[in-house]
């Protein structure tokens, strides 16, 4: 009897599995339907990157032009500039976005007063939950020529008004600092949790050996945080072509296209505003393809170095 069962299972292992676990399969169906339509569906649409797509002809009848759209990316000065801007903005954002939260987490963990510590935490997490539209609204107001910041600078240093959002040289720093302001608190959470989780006996041992607080931070806190730092920095490599559409779109203007236009904002303008659907899709596919490779590489590194798995 038992060997019979085994035999049947060997022939068709799915039978028994489906009979036993059918509710699990059923529960996956809704998500599967959504993913197939709204995530895999658009991937089919990527074919228009290889077409001279005309909306009225559709995907089936537009002419195929091979890789022409991709070749144009490197001929179009605006497109190459957008790629360069993306890389510069994203790389700086990643670097400060790793260093500042680590530093802030270490500083915050030094506070002994629990009430003050909690209040500070609550406040620094808050901006992360505001939308970029809200933040842009505030920034456009306070960074304007007659806004609060210029007012302050004029009163204290007597400087002439600075056009933060209209000066190509100042646009990138403005974008990076405002992104940092909005997100450093949130980035800090994991580091803070890691520090809280450090076994106090390490510090006690270090103290008995005569280590000062600075030495303790250097030789106990940082090494313990290292795996987490490695994981987060390698994983952020995958977002090297994401310079933040929501933010840039709400802050930029034609005056700062030369330094502020990024791939995603360029795709929006080139395709939806100017009707070059095939070309816009090619730029987007170029971005997704490179990001995909980078994410795979960074996940591998994170797995090798810190034994990190996505699931």
């Amino acid at each position: 009897m038992k060997t019979d069962d085994v035999k049947r299972n060997r022939k068709n292992p799915w039978n028994k599995e489906v009979k036993k676990n059918w509710p699990l399969y059923v529960l996956c169906i809704p998500a599967l339907v959504f993913v197939l339509i709204f995530a895999y569906g658009p991937m089919v649409g990527l074919v228009i990157a290889f077409q001279d797509y005309k909306p009225w002809l559709g995907m089936m009848h537009s002419t195929w032009i091979g890789l022409d759209n991709f070749a144009r990316i490197f001929q179009q000065e605006e497109a190459t500039q957008a790629i360069i801007n993306t890389l510069i903005i994203a790389v700086i954002k990643i670097i400060v976005g790793v260093i500042v939260p680590i530093a802030m987490a270490i500083l915050l963990s030094e506070l002994r007063n629990v009430g003050v510590k909690k209040s500070i935490q609550t406040l620094v997490y808050l901006p992360h939950f505001l939308s970029w539209v809200t933040v842009a609204g505030i920034m456009i107001d306070i960074l304007g020529l007659d806004g609060g910041i210029n007012h302050f600078l004029a009163n204290v240093f007597g400087t002439k008004p600075i056009f933060f959002l209209g000066d190509p040289g100042l646009f990138r720093p403005t974008v990076i600092i405002s992104d940092l302001w909005k997100n450093f608190g949130f980035g800090m959470i994991v580091y803070l949790a890691t520090i809280t989780g450090i076994d106090p006996s390490y510090y006690e041992a270090a103290e008995i050996d005569g280590a000062t607080r600075r030495q303790q931070t250097w030789h106990v806190t940082l090494p313990t945080m290292l795996p987490m730092i490695i994981v987060i920095s390698t994983l952020s490599l995958g977002s090297i072509l994401d310079a933040g559409f929501d933010q840039i779109f709400n802050l930029y203007n034609p005056l700062v296209y030369s330094t502020g236009d990024i791939i995603d904002t360029y795709v929006y303008r080139a395709s939806l505003l100017n009707g070059q659907y095939g070309f816009g899709t090619a730029v987007g596919l170029f971005k997704s393809g490179i990001s995909f490779i980078l994410i795979i590489i960074s996940y591998r590194i994170a797995y090798k170095v810190a034994n990190y798995k996505i699931f």
Binding site: E17, P23, C28, L123, I140, V190, T212, I310
Partner: protein, 289 residues
């Protein structure tokens, strides 16, 4: 003992000051907005308002709530947030629960879901898809495309995994069915996880502005965040519905400030609840052995 050393005391003092100042920079912009929204035109235009209202009045709020464009958008945002959160939660909870179990084909399914985090069709193909499904200018364009989020599902899956299997076995012996176990044991015990993810999704819907601009050709169909984008960023003052006589006495900036503040209020109100849960949620999602 380092606590007593002079150097550490000096460091500690400056550390407190520094961190309190940083925390204030996160609060002051919002206070500035609030102060502007309650101030008079002369005070706002003369740039006299910092963090406290000057010539206190509530006309900007009266005007904002009398503007049918604003209240209409707000209603659309409320509907979209409620509907979108319910649908999303249903989809990711069911899949997250199933995938927290071991069964044949699980890994293949998992990869199908995770792949969507790594690669996407991008803006134009998504736009074409939504248009050809006939969703443009309907609330479904705002709710359906983003309903499934792999990251949120993985968060929930990890929550479900932390619940001891012995509990499930005991319930099964007591005669509970599969769905009974899911409904009566797993869901109530995962409440912190469900709350974290649910609130993230709610905030996401409330703040989402680009899909409204993309998929609604009629500006009266915009959700609040998209409506606000046209006012705040594109500076289209006519959406504020100010008549010339009103424009003479009311400041555009204080109406803008009132509108931004009202749209941010729900976030500020759910934030204390959100904050209680999300630290644990984030850490659980990121730190895994």
């Amino acid at each position: 003992m380092y606590h007593k050393s002079k150097g550490y005391k000096i460091f500690s003092f400056f550390n407190y000051i520094f961190l309190i100042l940083i925390a204030l920079t996160c609060l002051l912009p919002l206070l500035h907005l609030l102060a502007q929204s309650f101030s008079s035109k002369a005070a706002v235009n003369g740039d006299l308002v910092s963090f406290w209202p000057v010539d206190f009045n509530t006309e900007s709020y009266a005007k904002t709530f009398n503007n049918s464009n604003f209240t209409g958008s707000m209603l659309i945002s409320v509907i979209r947030t409620v509907l979108g959160t319910l649908i999303s939660m249903f989809v990711i909870t069911t899949a997250g629960y199933a995938l927290s179990k071991d069964f044949r084909g699980r890994n293949a399914l998992m990869w199908i879901f995770v792949f969507t985090m790594l690669f996407s069709g991008g803006l134009i193909p998504s736009y074409i898809l939504v248009s050809s499904l006939g969703l443009k200018n309907t609330i479904w364009a705002l709710v359906l495309p983003g309903a499934f989020g792999a990251y949120n599902m993985i968060l929930l899956m990890n929550f479900f995994k932390t619940i001891p299997k012995a509990l499930e076995e005991a319930a099964f012996i007591d005669g509970a069915s599969f769905f009974g176990i899911f409904w009566r044991i797993y869901l109530p015990l995962s409440l912190p996880g469900l709350a974290t993810v649910g609130l993230f999704i709610m905030v996401g819907h409330w703040n989402s502005w680009f899909d409204g601009i993309l998929y609604m050709s009629d500006t009266t169909q915009y959700p609040l965040a998209s409506f606000l984008q046209t006012i705040v960023v594109q500076g289209s003052a006519q959406n504020m519905a100010l008549s010339p006589s009103e424009a003479a006495v009311m400041s555009e900036q204080s109406i803008k400030a009132a509108q931004i503040f009202i749209s941010t209020l729900p976030i500020i109100l759910v934030y204390p609840f959100l904050q209680r849960f999300f630290v644990k949620g984030i850490v659980l999602g990121a730190v895994k052995e």
